[in-house]
Amino acid sequence: MKFKTNSPLPGFAPALFYTVLYLALIVVIPLSGLFFKTAELGLAQFWDLISGERVTHALMISFATALAAAMINAVFGLIIAWVFVRYDFTGKGLFDAIIDLPFALPTAVAGIALSTLYSGSGWLGNLFNKVGIEIAFTPIGIVIALTFIGLPFVVRSVEPVLRELEKELEEAAASLGANRWQTLYHVVFPTLLPALLSGFALAFARGVGEYGSVIFIAGNVPYVSEVAPLLIVIKLEEYDYAGATAVAAAMLLISFVLLILINALQAWSQRYKASSGNVNAAPDKGFVA
């Protein structure tokens, strides 16, 4: 037999065969079409297609807002994870369930709700307008939508690590004379950093490609609040397949580079671990909620 395994359990060959076949048909083959199409363009044409001002602006807006939202989420997600793991308060179960809302709520629904809430006549938009801040139809609106989308990635990445953090570590630090903030800064935070970074990376990657929740609140003004995914849709509607492909490829390429950077940062943050590789299982679980 071709797939010889050592396990006495049956069904390995057919299960693996089906898995690989389905994966190839649904994911690998269609996705490779994108790469062939990009390769077909050639470097010069590719550069031509993405160096237009509208495209560069859209890419810049997408990446800048995704980065901003992921940073906001890193800060507040950490606080939320901390509060939910360490403290008790009434309604904790309810709030805990709600954290996963962005995973379950369709993005279009989130989009129209946020748009209504932050528009000039909406409850929050009205409030901000009074102090002179416009949110809807500006990049701030995009950041808000992406914050909504990315929050659970950070919280669900940090939570399991925090839960498994040995209390003895903190007690040891305290017994050695560290005050609370020293303990948190020197002992707790370095332990959480890898998980926080993977949560950040997940939120960021999701934010860059986000479409549904953004287009309603963004107003989609070219050069100002038009995100890259929207530009792809617009180009597709104009049957400009080459242009759409180029923007998509540029998006993937930049995401890829940034994620490698984040990965390197993450590796650095766990340099004290003997073996490299992804020891931290948190992002896996955080992903699917």
């Binding site: 797939f3 898995t19 792809i232």
Partner: protein
Amino acid sequence: MNPSTQKNSIKVAGHSAISEGKLTRWVLTTIALSFLILFLLLPLFTVFAEALRNGWQTYGKALSDADGLAAIRLTIIASAIAVPLNLIFGVAAAWSIAKFEFRGKVLLTTLIDLPFSVSPVVTGLIFVLMFGASGWAAPLLEDTDIQILFALPGIVLVSIFVTFPFIARELIPLMQEQGSDEEQAALSLGANGWQTFWHVTLPNIRWGLLYGVLLCNARAMGEFGAVSVVSGHIRGETNTLPLHVEILYNEYNFAAAFAMASILASLALVTLAIKAVLEKAHGLKH
């Protein structure tokens, strides 16, 4: 009272050596909950408030609109095809990855996760590139009447792609944690492969499986970007529920848009509620 004892008792009352002071805890909890209320609860509340702004009657009328019903039907059909397919895939993938050792396992797991990191719009794009008028797979369909783009098959395909990893991702860690001792025991007692799976494996993973299916379903029904690219937006025909919401919203028919949205929001709430119950009752970890 001796001052040193007093000092001690205060320290004990102020909680253990490794907790923050009462004020800090209160401040952090307030920040966390305010953030959740502002960013999650308020938008959710807005959906229902806007849907009911003009009263129940308008709400009912919006829901019974013919195009709306067609959108609901299409959404249900699409996910009724996509979810079972991903379920079979998820079980097969989890069985081979969690219960067996083989080379290329890490690569396989990475590829399964790939759809998570592909923007929904790009997902739509790759199927347009494949099946569009000048698409590279279009010649395959030339002689048939099969229409993929701007029709149900396209919607189903992107729904499968977008929710591809959900069930597998839920099951793999669960099955790995279970190990295969119980399966080996069943086989040693004479059970065949199906009996082992049905009587031993499945009962051990049923709650994780259920949650994976629910999440997969919620995402399939709610997918917007990818479906938007391949659907063609033909009202009453190729509009799914989220697309119909968009159209109504863009026509300034806010009450109807939010009424439709409230169906999807309810679906999300049910998914979350079941998840919370499963976690509490069966210690299912996320």
